[in-house]
């Protein structure tokens, strides 16, 4: 597995965990309060947490190549920064890593009408 593909795979696998964390949080929460996900950066050893609302999370998930990472965890050769908030950055995977992210998307990947992380 080359480096770009591996980085894409790592982020996709973190995304799969976060999808489960979101479902679990949604089962418990009644409002759009924040819940916690794992940083979706390409570094496998990173397990930092991000506090995020359901709305923000859904906006990121609406695109198959966008991921939420802790500020500063943006991996420049393989990603571009889409937007920043106080608690997380939204990055878009590029090239081979982006293709891995698309293939591994657990959702159908409908494109949102707004920029992820910008609301």
């Amino acid at each position: 597995m080359n480096q770009a593909v591996r980085k894409g795979a790592n982020e996709s696998w973190f995304r799969e965990v976060n999808e489960r964390l979101e479902r679990r949080a949604a089962d418990k929460a009644s409002s759009d309060g924040p819940f916690e996900i794992i940083c979706e950066c390409a570094r496998e050893e990173c397990t930092e947490r991000i506090s995020i609302t359901f709305r923000e999370y859904e906006a990121i998930r609406a695109r198959s190549k966008t991921f939420a990472v802790v500020p500063g965890h943006h991996d420049r050769p393989y990603e571009r920064l889409v937007s920043s908030t106080e608690t997380y950055d939204v990055v878009e995977k590029l090239g081979a890593a982006g293709r891995v992210a698309e293939v591994g998307n657990p959702r159908d990947g409908e494109e949102p009408e707004h920029e992820p992380g910008a609301d």
């Binding site: 597995m1 795979a9 790592n10 696998w13 799969e16 965990v17 999808e19 489960r20 964390l21 679990r24 916690e36 794992i38 496998e44 050893e45 397990t47 930092e48 947490r49």
Partner: protein, 205 residues
């Protein structure tokens, strides 16, 4: 009699138990249900005799009959590894690396990724909340369809609530375990805490 099948008397003699014991085990535990011959007699094939042998090994080690059947009925592990780490900040990373011996990247990279994630979170918990002197013990056993992972630390009793305490750098781990594990359990007492997790090979996540 079909080739390779033995009647209950022959099996009982071979195993050194009474035929009535085999009938009782069959009725109670349904682990070994023999074939039936033309006259309705019980007939055991080689696999069933092997399985009864495994039950007897457990009984002779002191297990009660039900537990012996439970243990014997489990598939045999493919690989098992045990590790110990000093309770240092490096322990989670060492735990990740150690697991590469058990399940290689090329074998199932996605499962290996989730196993390393769960292990590092549990070891991180052990470092943060366990004894600062006693080593952390980790055991991983690979079966055909699942992996059992145990992480054990010394120290006082822990509450689930303390393990769920908000912490930005991670290490709470339990919500990740909840999300990924088929099953998990925690045993905590005055001498330490052991968390056991089962990850299914095909269902992660």
């Amino acid at each position: 009699m079909a080739t390779g099948l033995l009647e209950i008397g022959a099996v009982a003699r071979q195993l050194g138990v009474a035929p009535s014991t085999l009938r009782t085990w069959e009725r109670r535990y349904r682990l070994v249900v023999p074939h039936r011959g033309d006259q309705g007699q019980r007939l055991y094939d080689c696999d069933q005799i092997d399985l009864l042998g495994r039950v007897l090994v457990q009984v002779r080690r002191g297990a009660r009959a039900r537990a012996a059947h439970d243990l014997a009925g489990q598939p045999l592990p493919l690989r098992n590894s045990r590790f110990r780490f000093e309770p240092s900040p490096e322990a989670p990373l060492l735990a990740r690396r150690a697991l590469d011996e058990l399940i290689g990247e090329s074998e199932n990279p996605r499962l290996a990724f989730y196993l390393r994630l769960v292990a590092s979170e549990l070891v991180k918990n052990a470092v943060l909340y366990g004894s600062k002197r006693d080593p952390i013990r980790m055991e991983a056993t690979l079966f055909p369809d699942w992996i059992d992972l145990q992480v054990q630390n010394g120290g006082g009793r822990l509450s689930i609530k303390s393990l769920r305490t908000r912490r930005r750098q991670g290490g709470r781990g339990l919500e990740i375990v909840d999300a990924l594990a088929e099953a998990w359990s925690i045993e905590t007492g005055p001498l330490g805490t052991k968390i056991a997790v089962r990850l299914l090979v095909d269902a992660v996540p």
